[in-house]
C-alpha cells in the first residue's frame, strides 16, 4: 500500500501561527559538482512564532562582533525580555502542556515571593549602609562596645528573621510538593505510548501499538494528538541524555541500563522544539527533536502514513537514487521500510522527507540542506556518526531525488 497519504498540516490558524511555513527553509543550491564549494547552508533562523520580536530573527548577521549593538541591546533588553520569555518554541515560560503549565505557575509564584524577599534584603542593606548615625564621631574600634538595648533589639530581629525565613521556605516547599504530586497524578491517564531511545546524537522514536504490525519507528520527531496525555518511555543506547521539551514538561534523563518515563500532553496545536539537556559528547549541542501537536484526526492520518512502507520511486532519477542508496554505504546504517535497507544504526529514513528537520534538528528539512548534509555531514555536525560517503555528484543528485520522495 503505497498510496500517498496527504501530509497532515499541523498549522493552526487560530492563533495566527504558521509553524509549517517557517520550516520550509529555502532550498539551497544542490551541488552540481562535489569539487565545488558546498552550498552555504542555511541553518537559521529557526522558526519563531510571530511576535517573538524582529530583533531575534535578524541574528544571522551577528556573525561579526557588532559591539556597538551591545548598547542598543541593553536598552531594548528590558522591553524585549518579557516578550521573549512568553513566546518561544523552546521556552519553559510559554507552556502549552498541563505539566509545563503547573511548573510555570509554580515558577512565577516562587519568583514573586523571592523577589519580594530580595527587595527587602536590598532595602535593609541600603539603609544599613547609608542611614545617619549618632555615634559616627566616636573613636574607632577599641573603645567601642555594642549597646545592650540595641543588641537586644537586633537579637529579636534575628529571631523574627529566622522564623520568617523558615516560614517562607516551608510554604514554598509545600507548594512545590503539591505541584509535584499534581504533575504525578496527571501522568496516570496516558493513552498513547511512545518509546524514545537516545543515541549519540539523535533520537529514535518508536510508536508502540498493541497490534505488533501497527508499531512503527521514526526519528527526531514526535507527533502528538492535542489534549491526549502521552507516555514517553525513555531509554539510552550509549551515554546519558536528557529528554526536554520545555513547552510541554520538565526534563527526564535517559540512562543506559535504566528505563525512565515521563508523560506529556500538548494543549494546543503547534510545533515545539526539544533538546538534549545532558552533556553527551561531541554533538550535544545539535541533538534536538521536533514535537508537533496536531488535532486527533490529523494525527491518526499521520500515523497511518507512517505505518506505510516507503513510497516506491516514481521517476527514473529516483529509481537510480534508490539503486545507489541500496548499493552504497547508506544501506549499512539506515532502514527504508519496503526495501532491503534494514540496518538500525542510523535513523529510519522511510518517511524522511516528511520530517521537519534533518540531523536531529540541526537543519530544517529542505532538499538543499539534505544535499549539503549528505555531501559533507562532518562539516555541519563534526563528530557525528554519519560519515562522508564518497558519492559522485550524479549519484548524489539521484539519492537526493529518491530521498526527497520519501514523504
Amino acid at each position: 500500500m503505497t498510496a500517498r497519504l496527504p501530509i497532515p498540516s499541523p498549522c493552526s490558524a487560530g492563533r495566527g501561527r504558521d509553524p509549517c511555513g517557517a520550516w520550509e527553509g529555502e532550498g539551497s543550491v544542490i551541488p552540481r559538482n562535489l569539487a565545488l564549494t558546498l552550498p552555504r547552508l542555511r541553518r537559521g533562523p529557526l522558526p519563531l512564532p510571530p511576535g517573538a520580536g524582529e530583533g531575534v530573527a535578524r541574528s544571522a548577521s551577528s556573525r561579526q562582533w557588532p559591539w556597538h549593538r551591545a548598547a542598543l541591546v541593553l536598552c531594548l533588553f528590558a522591553l524585549t525580555a518579557c516578550e521573549r520569555v512568553q513566546h518561544g518554541i523552546q521556552s519553559a515560560l510559554d507552556p502549552v502542556g498541563q505539566q509545563a503549565g503547573r511548573i510555570a505557575g509554580l515558577w512565577w509564584l516562587f519568583l514573586a515571593v523571592l523577589a519580594a524577599v530580595y527587595a527587602v534584603v536590598l532595602v535593609l542593606l541600603l539603609v544599613a549602609a547609608i542611614r545617619p548615625r549618632r555615634r559616627r564621631r566616636l573613636p574607632p574600634g577599641p573603645a567601642f562596645r555594642p549597646e545592650e538595648p540595641i543588641e537586644r533589639r537586633l537579637t529579636r530581629g534575628l529571631t523574627a528573621w529566622a522564623v520568617g525565613t523558615a516560614a517562607i521556605v516551608l510554604t514554598l516547599t509545600g507548594f512545590s510538593y503539591a505541584v509535584d504530586r499534581d504533575i504525578l497524578a496527571l501522568g496516570h491517564r496516558a493513552e498513547l505510548t511512545i518509546e524514545v531511545t537516545a543515541k549519540q546524537w539523535w533520537w529514535q522514536v518508536r510508536y508502540d501499538d498493541p497490534v505488533p504490525n501497527r508499531s512503527f519507528e521514526t526519528a527526531n520527531e514526535i507527533r502528538l494528538p492535542v489534549g491526549v496525555p502521552v507516555r514517553v518511555v525513555l531509554k539510552a543506547q550509549d551515554v546519558i541524555h536528557s529528554f526536554w521539551v520545555p513547552n510541554l514538561h520538565g526534563k527526564t534523563d535517559l540512562i543506559p541500563g535504566r528505563v525512565n518515563e515521563t508523560v506529556i500532553v500538548a494543549d494546543r496545536e503547534g510545533r515545539y522544539r526539544g533538546q538534549c539537556a545532558e552533556f553527551c559528547g561531541f554533538q550535544h549541542a545539535n541533538m534536538a527533536l521536533d514535537v508537533v501537536a496536531m488535532p486527533r484526526d490529523q494525527f491518526e492520518a499521520w500515523r497511518e502514513s507512517q505505518l506505510a512502507p516507503a513510497v516506491a520511486p516514481s521517476d527514473e532519477r529516483s529509481r537510480e537514487g534508490q539503486r545507489v542508496f541500496l548499493t552504497s554505504a547508506c544501506v549499512m546504517c539506515h532502514t527504508v521500510r519496503g526495501t532491503t535497507a534494514a540496518s538500525r544504526v542510523g535513523p529510519d529514513l522511510t518517511h524522511v522527507a516528511a520530517r521537519p528537520s534533518i540531523a536531529a534538528g540541526t537543519l530544517p528539512y529542505s532538499k538543499g540542506n539534505l544535499a549539503g548534509w549528505i555531501a559533507d555531514p562532518q562539516r555541519i555536525k563534526p563528530g557525528s556518526q554519519m560519515p562522508v560517503v564518497g558519492l559522485s555528484a550524479d549519484q548524489l543528485q539521484s539519492v537526493l531525488a529518491y530521498l526527497d520522495g520519501l514523504k
Binding site: A329, M332, P382, P387, G390
Partner: protein, 188 residues
C-alpha cells in the same frame, strides 16, 4: 652531563611525549583526506612472511589514535563483523585476536581484505563502507591481538564481559598461516 645538555635532552623527551599524545588523542572525525589509497594501491601480503612493506603513514594515524580505534570498535559491532568473527575469537570466520594471519597482518592487508573480500565467505565491502571507516575497522582488528599501542587501544565496553579489553591483550607475534587452517576448521 652539562645543564644545557640535560635541558635539551629533557625538552626532546617532552617533545616526543607531546607528539605521541597529540597523535593519540587527536579526534579528527572526518578521517584522513582520501589519497591514492584504495585496494589497488595496497601491497598484498604474501602467504608466507616476506618483505615487510614500508610502513604506511596511516598506521600511525589510525593505529596510534585512540579515537579511530574506538570508532573502529563501534563500527565492528554496528556492521555485524561479530556475526562471523565473534568478539575476535572466531566463529564462522577466522579468529582475529590470535597470532595467525591468512592474508597478512599489516594494516594495509587488513584494509584490502575488508575492501576486496576473501574466498570462503569474507564479503567485499567495497563502496559499502567509506574508506575512512575501513581504516578504522582495520586498525581496531589489529588492536584485538595487541598490535596497537596500549595507551591508544580501547578499554572495556559497556556490555557483557566477553573478553578482556584490547588494551589488556598481550601483543601476539603475528605469523602467516595458510588459507586452509583455522578457517576450514571453523567452517567444518
Amino acid at each position: 652531563m652539562s645543564s644545557p645538555c640535560r635541558r635539551s635532552a629533557s625538552l626532546a623527551v617532552l617533545a616526543v611525549l607531546a607528539l605521541a599524545a597529540c597523535d593519540r588523542e587527536e579526534r579528527e572525525p572526518r578521517g584522513a583526506p582520501v589519497g591514492e589509497s584504495g585496494p589497488g594501491a595496497i601491497a598484498q601480503g604474501t602467504l608466507y612472511a616476506g618483505e615487510p612493506s614500508p610502513p604506511d603513514p596511516r598506521r600511525q594515524e589510525y593505529e596510534g589514535n585512540a579515537y579511530h580505534l574506538a570508532q573502529g570498535k563501534q563500527l565492528y559491532v554496528w556492521f555485524n563483523c561479530g556475526t562471523c568473527h565473534a568478539n575476535g575469537g572466531g566463529d564462522i570466520g577466522p579468529p582475529l585476536m590470535d597470532d595467525s594471519w591468512i592474508y597478512g597482518d599489516s594494516l594495509e592487508n587488513i584494509f584490502a581484505t575488508i575492501v576486496q573480500g576473501r574466498p570462503n565467505g569474507m564479503p567485499s565491502f567495497r563502496n559499502k563502507i567509506p574508506e575512512t571507516q575501513i581504516w578504522e575497522i582495520a586498525a581496531y582488528v589489529r588492536s584485538m591481538s595487541g598490535q596497537t599501542p596500549t595507551a591508544a587501544s580501547p578499554g572495556r565496553n559497556d556490555s557483557l564481559n566477553a573478553k578482556p579489553a584490547e588494551q589488556r591483550t598481550p601483543k601476539a607475534e603475528p605469523k602467516q598461516s595458510t588459507p586452509g587452517g583455522p578457517q576450514v576448521e571453523g567452517r567444518q
